[in-house]
Every structure is written in structure tokens, then in C-alpha cells.
Amino acid sequence: MESMNSGADALALLPELFLLAGAVLALLAGSFTARERQWISRVIAVVALSASAVASGVAFAAVASAAGPVAESMSVYDGSYILDGGTAAGRLIVAVSALLVIALGVDELRGTARESETYVLILLASLGAVVLAGASDLLVLAVGFLLASIPLYALIGIGGTKAGAEAALKTYLLGALFGILLLLGVTVLYAVSGTTSYAGLRGALAAAAPAVVGVGLVGVLAGLMFKAGAVPGHFWVPDAAEGSGTAVAAFATTVPKIGGFLAAYRLLEMMPGTVRWPLLIALLSVLTMTLGNLAAYTQTNPRRLLGWSTVSQAGYLLMPVAVAGSIPIALPSLVVFLAGYAVTNLAAFAVIAAYPDRTELRAYEGLAAARPWHAVALVVALLSLVGTPPTAVFLGKLTVFTAAWDGGFWWLTLAAAVNTVISLFYYLRWLAPAFRAASPDSPGAGEFTPRRWAGRTAVAGAVLVLVVGVGAGLAWTALGGLPTG
């Protein structure tokens, strides 16, 4: 692990710097322009995210062409921040997701009192997620956690509605609790190992008392499960999905997960075999997917349904984490699932954003007849969440199922398959009305006047879902984990 000079280190962090600069500029611009000209902040945010995405894409391509040893060992700032295929992909997914969030939220946010601030907070929370994804030092991890969390609390409450305030408070209280647990865990791990660097942790912790290491690890993991929206840190997710604005809901159920899961993966990869963390993660995975599915079962509000569905998806996302470091395809499968999940979830939220007043599933009656393309987008998004090929989440599911089984957790794969069947039922509860003819007593009466940007984002998102589903296999080589043959 060679340390580069700090100038080159900074250059390697270009995608992160773009996000930071964008946030600062958007804040300044928003402070000095009239409300009707806050689109300037939006332009700044979009440019910053696009630049970050391009820089990440270039870095990703570089890792891809280097393929192999370089991808494994590159890190900056004395090994505190890792720059492998996982980080490269994480940055790209975060940037593209935030862009989609802004696109689906344009109609909703345009001209509101807090438009600039929303973009600033989105940029900062995205930066936090990226830092989480790349952290390979406990202190950087803690910073990333705070950077990802604090803007999120503000975002959830920014709409000023009663439900939003309640969701923000709930998220804040849970975040504070789990944040403390994370810091406590970091302290314990540092106390027993004498280092915060992941590279040093493995060796140092192997010699430490397993019980103490376990306590520290559980603390850090609790914080990360809050970010990931998985059991036991999932309680805020459905409330945030229902109570906050649509764009914020889309953001809160997507981007923090990207940071949370990659951070958990990197940490666990470095844990010694003295602690039986794989079993813990596998149990959390089963709990998360089952709880999310059962809770989603009876929902009639599409946002809340999606909120619980994201909890169940977090369960599948934990499957590769449970075999972190022991199976070559674990990290690639996690990244592929994250990418697929992000575009899919955002496409589904874009449909909601196009018709924001429809608060029950029945209100979508007549969508296929009135707006066939939006109905097709909804089909693609929901079938992807189910895991039907050739959509994005199918590829994710296929690979995480394989990774978990390969790592010895065949029962986890079985549980995930059973859960997938259960999940089909509630996704169809949304899909079926959309393809029924509207009757006069349907809420909304079959009249569908979409918000334009949100509608376009839904269709674009659905296309992305298919592109990722069909094409991600070819981009995969950048993530390492080539098969043994």
C-alpha cells in the first residue's frame, strides 16, 4: 500500500470534490438569488453530479482496464480511503441516483421556498454516502456516517408537512441512537486493536478477546444497518417514504443504502475469523427481508408499500455481505444489486412523483389505458423489484443468491427465494389496478395528468433498468471476482 503524494491523492478524489464544490456553490447561489431564479442552484447541482458521474465513470473504466492487482490495492491518504472497483462503482451509482432524484423532483421542487437547500442537502448526503462506500478507516467511516445522516434529517423534514416533521423526528432520534452505537463500536474496536485503519484491524483483532471485538463490531454494524435501512435500523424507512416529499423519499430509500452496504462489506471483510459475524449478518438478512415483505403485504399506500419493499430489498442486499471476503463474486454481486436496486427504486418513485396525489393503490386504475408508457415503466420497475429477468434486480438477485449459497448459506438462499414469491403478491397488488379499466368510482377516475419531468424520468428509469439488467454483466469485469475458470 504505497502512499501517493497528497496532490495526486486529491486528484483521485475528484468525484468527491465535485460533490463538495457543487454543494458549496449551490448554497452560495441559492442564498443570493431570488426564489424564481433558484433554478441556478439546480443547474449547479446537476453539473456537479454529472461531473462527479463522469469522473467516477473514468475511474471505473481505469479500474476495469487495469483489472486485477491494481484494483485490489489502490488507496489514498495512508490507506484510509480505498479506490477499488467497489468505490468506483459506488460513486457512479450515487451520482446517477442523485441525478435521477433531481430529475424526478423538478416539478415538485421548482419554485418552492427551500429549493436550493434541497439540492445542497442532496449533494452533501450523496457525498456522505460516497465517503461511507470508500472508507477503509474507522474514523473516516464515522465522518461518512455523520455526513450522510445529518443532511438526511433535514431533507426529510424540509417539506414542512406534519407527516414530514414526524418522519424527520423519528429518523433523527433513531439516527442519533444508532450513531452513538457506531461511535461506541469504533471506540471499542480502537481500544482493543490500537489502530483505526482497516488494514491493521484484521491482524490486531485476531489476537483480541472475541467477545470485546464482537461488541465493537455489533455497535458499528448497528450504525450501518441504520444507513442501510435493514433490521434493526429500519424503523425510519417507511415513515420517511410516506411522510417526506416524493423526491426526498426516493433519495432517502436509495442513496444512503449504497453507502451503508458498501461500508458494511468493507469492514466485515477485514474482521478476523474469531467472531462469527457471517451468521449474524445472515440472520439479519432473513429477518430484514421477511419483515419488510410481511409489512408490505397489507399496505394500500404506494409510497408506504415501496418503503417496506426497500426494507425487504435490504435483506437481499445483506446476502453478499454475509459472505464478504470469502467468495470472489460477493463484492461484484453486491455492487450489481445496488446498481439495479437504485435505478429500479427510483423508476418506481418517479411513477409516484408523476402522480403525487394518488395515495392508494386503487387510484392507479386506468393508468395503462390513459398513459401506456408510464404503465410500462411501472411494470418494468415492479417486475424488477420482484426479480424477473432481464431486469436489473434479477441480475442482482441471481448473483447474491449464488454468492450466499456458494458461501455455505444455502438456507439463506432458500429463504430469499421464498420471500421473493411472497413479494410478488404485493407488487402485483399495485400492478393489477394499473391495468384494469378505470370505473367511475375509482379514486382519480382514470384521469391521469402527469408531472412532465417525473413522467419522463419514470420512462428513462425503466430503460435504465433494462440496460443495467442486460448490460451490467459485461461491465462486471471491472469489479474483479472473475470466475476460477
Binding site: 441480475l395 443468491f401 421473493t420 454483466g473
Partner: protein, 494 residues
């Protein structure tokens, strides 16, 4: 060439969807594209030379997901080529039958073309993930056909169909992952898995095959996984039923001969007693329940359970343990594949005819009709031909298939003879249905019944003529199937 056969209907479906308000053009495009598909598959058939054991004709392979050893890999052999041609023929018949349909013909045509692409793709797939992709998409497509164009309690039937077959598909996926992990190097490629022969003598193979068998048995369907079939058929539109019975059910049995038997031969041997039992029970139970139906379409649906039971029975016998009786095994296997083709043609035709009943009278209840032969002689004649074909009368394809199935199966596992009464029961139930609906004095809904329209007559007639042609001149079909059957028995037999 093969990819063209898969992609052409898909492209046509996308084009039809993208052109709003082109309802009449959609209908024409539907017929034209399915006709071109028949022509293309005829060219495939004409140019087909047996590629030898384990070989493939018209093979194509493209990189897709290299890191998990999955690729776009298609090709045909004697087991898949007849089914691809059958698919093209059934869809053409449906396109012609739907010529006069007025209910949203544009999305309907697009959906059926999409289904045709997935069906051809599935029979051509030589990669487990590709197979699974088409398998799942066929479920999605059929769900929308039933939910969108069905009648009666269609939402519920469609949901049941989707949930049930999706459950099967996940069992299948688990089995595929098991095969993948069992092979070294890991791969989803079917020919590579065949060469690796990974799970031989591995106790895990029995479990992996269990998952695959459950997945395919739901689709086939066999007892006890058949309960989704009658409501799905009853509430589906006529062409939906024809495609479901004619093509989609074959995906289950085709999966047995393409994946389960060759890749897990010794596990198949371990499972053979179960499969033979399931086959026998499906044959007898399907026929008995069909006998008890008063709804004509439900009755035909249950005869599907019976007919698919023969196939499972034959496959079980062909792969059973015991003294080698290679010739008998090959006969059973060839009979099973022939039965897939034969059942597709005959039951497809019968479901289309049942659809005529519903379109004229709004009901399938046999009690509502009587003496229908007088006002609708053509309908009566076609139905009688279809019924005789279905009950296995010599001169029709069903006879060729079932004769080989029983000759082969009894030769290998004599106990399979207890399924023979299934043939008698089928004969009884079809004769009873003919008598109730068509003979006697014209009464009930039969009065003023409009006879077959040209479109209906041409589509059903075409299917029945093919069945007769196979019944009278089976050799060209058997020449394609038999070498592949022999190769499969070479891998999986005794």
C-alpha cells in the same frame, strides 16, 4: 438465423406498441409476422442435419455475463426443433383466429408476438439463465393475456397462475444455481454442464434435481401442482388458452429433456419411481376429473393434465434404473417428444373451438347446448375430428405418440401399464361430450348458433390437418426426434 426467429416477433411487438392507433395494421402485422416465423422455421427444418450426440445445429453464442459463466447461447437439436416449429404454427393459428377480434387488437398482437419470442427463445436456449429468462417472461406475458383479455373471474385466475408458476420458477432458479455451483469451473452453459457432468454420484444432486423437478412440474403441470391450470384456462381468451396449452405447458416437459435428464442422470434415476408415479396419477386423475366436468373448457384443461401425464410417465420410464432395454427407452423418449408436438396441435385446436362456443353463446357449459350439429355442422365436424385425435385414434398424431409411450414404457417398467385405462377414460369423456353438445334435437343456446367463420375454420383446420399428417406420415418427424432421443438415452438411460 435462429436469433432472427427469436428477435423478429420481439421487434414487431415493439414496433406495434410504438405506433398508436394502428389497430388494423396491428392485426395484419400479427398474421404476417407469424406467417414469416412459420416460413423461417420451415427453412430451419429443411436445412437441419442431425448434429450428432451432444451437438447443436444453428448454434450462436455471444458474451453476456462472463463472470458467472452465462452467455447468450442458442442452438437446436432434435428435441427442440419440433417444438420451435410447433410454436410458430400455433401462433400463426392464433393470429388467424384473432383476425376478427375487436378488443384492443394492437396491444393484444404485441403481447402475443412477445410470447412467441419468449417461447422460441426458451426452446432454443442453451444457457440456464437464458432459459430462465424466457421461462419467466412467458409467465409475465401470459399473466397479462389472462388478466387483460380473459373473462369471468380473470383477475383471480391470472393472479393464481402468476403466483403458482412464479413459485415454480424460483424453485427452478434454485436448482440452476445448484447446478452452477456443482460444476467446476462454475458455469450456466448447458453443453458445458453436460460435459462437466458435475453432480454425478453427488448426494446434493438429488436435492438439486428435486428443485428443478418441482419447478418444471408446476409448469407442466402434473398432479399435485396442477390446480392453477383449470381456472387459468377457463378464464383465458381462446387464443390465450391455445398458447398456454399448446406451447407454454411444453416448457415444463421440455425442461425435463433439456436440463433435468441429461445434466443430472443419476439423480433422475433416483427420482424415476416418483416421476413414474406422478405420471400415472396425472394420467388417471386428469382423465377422471375431466370426465366429471360439465364445463367443456375445463374438461379440455383436465385432459391436458392427462396428456402431459403420459409424457412424464415416459420420461420417468426412459430414465429409470434397471436392466438395459435401450430400444424401449428410446421409444418411450421419442414418444414423449412426439406427444409434446401432438398435444400442442390437438389441444390448441380444441381450445380454439371452445372459444367459438364462448364467443357465440357466452358459456362453456355443455348442458346449455344440445343438437349443435344441425345449426353448426362445420363446427361439429371439426370438434369431432379434434376429439378423436385427442383420444388417440390411429391416423392422428396422438396415436403415434401414445403408442410409442406405452410400448416403450411398458417395455422398460411393466408396471406403467396401469396408466392404460387413461386412454379409455379419455375416449369415454370425449364421446360423452360430443353426444351432449352435438347430438339430439337442437335446444338451448344451440338455436341460431353461427357456424365457424372462415378465419376460425382455417386456423383450427390447419392444426388438425397437421395432426393428421403426422398421424399418417410420422417418419419425417420421427427422423428428427429419434437420434436426439437416442443420444439422451445414451446419457441418462439405465
Amino acid at each position: 438465423m435462429l436469433s432472427l426467429v427469436i428477435l423478429l416477433p420481439l421487434a414487431a411487438a415493439a414496433l406495434i406498441l410504438a405506433l398508436p392507433r394502428a389497430e388494423r395494421a396491428a392485426r395484419l402485422a400479427f398474421v404476417l409476422v407469424t406467417a414469416v416465423e412459420v416460413a423461417l422455421t420451415a427453412v430451419l427444418w429443411a436445412g437441419y442435419r442431425d448434429p450428432g450426440a451432444g451437438g447443436l445445429a444453428y448454434e450462436e453464442q455471444l458474451r453476456w455475463i462472463p463472470n458467472v459463466g452465462s452467455s447468450y447461447h442458442v442452438g437446436v437439436d432434435g428435441l427442440s426443433l419440433p417444438l420451435i416449429v410447433l410454436t410458430a404454427v400455433i401462433f400463426l393459428a392464433c393470429a388467424i383466429y384473432d383476425w376478427n377480434a375487436t378488443d384492443r387488437p394492437r396491444p393484444r398482437a404485441a403481447l402475443f408476438l412477445f410470447l412467441e419470442a419468449t417461447s422460441v427463445g426458451l426452446f432454443a436456449a442453451q444457457d440456464l439463465i437464458l432459459f430462465f429468462l424466457f421461462f419467466d417472461l412467458s409467465i409475465v406475458g401470459m399473466y397479462f393475456v389472462i388478466a387483460g383479455w380473459g373473462h369471468g373471474d380473470r383477475a383471480r385466475s391470472a393472479l393464481k397462475f402468476f403466483l403458482y408458476t412464479f413459485l415454480g420458477s424460483l424453485a427452478l432458479l434454485l436448482g440452476f444455481i445448484g447446478l452452477y455451483l456443482g460444476a467446476e469451473p462454475h458455469t450456466f452453459d448447458i453443453p458445458e454442464l453436460l460435459r462437466a457432468d458435475a453432480l454425478r454420484n453427488n448426494p446434493a444432486g438429488v436435492w438439486v434435481l428435486g428443485a428443478i423437478v418441482v419447478g418444471l412440474a408446476v409448469k407442466t403441470p402434473t398432479v399435485p401442482f396442477h390446480t392453477w391450470l383449470p381456472p387459468a384456462h377457463t378464464d383465458a381468451p381462446a387464443t390465450g388458452s391455445a398458447v398456454l396449452a399448446g406451447v407454454l405447458l411444453k416448457m415444463g416437459t421440455y425442461g425435463f429433456v433439456r436440463i433435468a435428464m441429461p445434466l443430472l442422470p443419476d439423480a433422475w434415476r433416483a427420482w424415476a419411481p416418483v416421476l413414474i408415479t406422478v405420471g400415472v396419477v396425472s394420467v388417471l386423475y386428469g382423465a377422471l376429473v375431466a370426465l366429471a366436468q360439465s364445463d367443456l373448457k375445463r374438461m379440455i384443461a383436465y385432459t391436458s393434465v392427462n396428456h402431459m401425464g403420459y409424457i412424464v410417465l415416459a420420461l420417468g420410464a426412459a430414465g429409470a434404473a434397471g436392466e438395459s432395454a435401450t430400444a424401449a427407452r428410446e421409444t418411450a423418449m421419442t414418444g414423449a417428444v412426439t406427444q409434446m408436438v401432438s398435444h400442442g396441435l390437438i389441444t390448441g385446436a380444441l381450445f380454439l373451438l371452445a372459444g367459438v362456443l364462448h364467443s357465440r353463446a357466452g358459456t362453456y357449459s355443455m348442458g346449455a347446448f344440445g343438437g349443435l350439429a344441425a345449426p353448426a355442422p362445420r363446427f361439429a365436424a371439426f370438434f369431432a375430428v379434434g376429439a378423436f385425435a385427442s383420444l388417440g385414434l390411429p391416423g392422428f398424431s396422438g396415436f403415434i405418440a401414445e403408442f410409442q409411450i406405452f410400448a416403450g414404457s411398458i417395455g422398460t417398467v411393466p408396471l406403467t401399464a396401469i396408466a392404460l385405462p387413461g386412454i379409455l377414460l379419455t375416449a369415454a369423456l370425449f364421446l360423452r361430450a360430443l353426444q351432449r353438445v352435438f347430438t339430439g334435437s337442437t335446444k338451448g343456446k344451440s338455436t341460431g348458433f353461427q357456424d365457424l367463420l372462415p378465419a376460425e375454420a382455417w386456423s383450427v383446420g390447419g392444426l388438425l390437418v397437421l395432426s393428421v399428417l403426422i398421424g399418417l406420415f410420422p417418419v419425417p418427424l420421427l427422423d428428427v426426434i429419434a437420434p436426439a432421443s437416442a443420444a439422451l438415452v445414451g446419457v441418462a438411460g439405465g
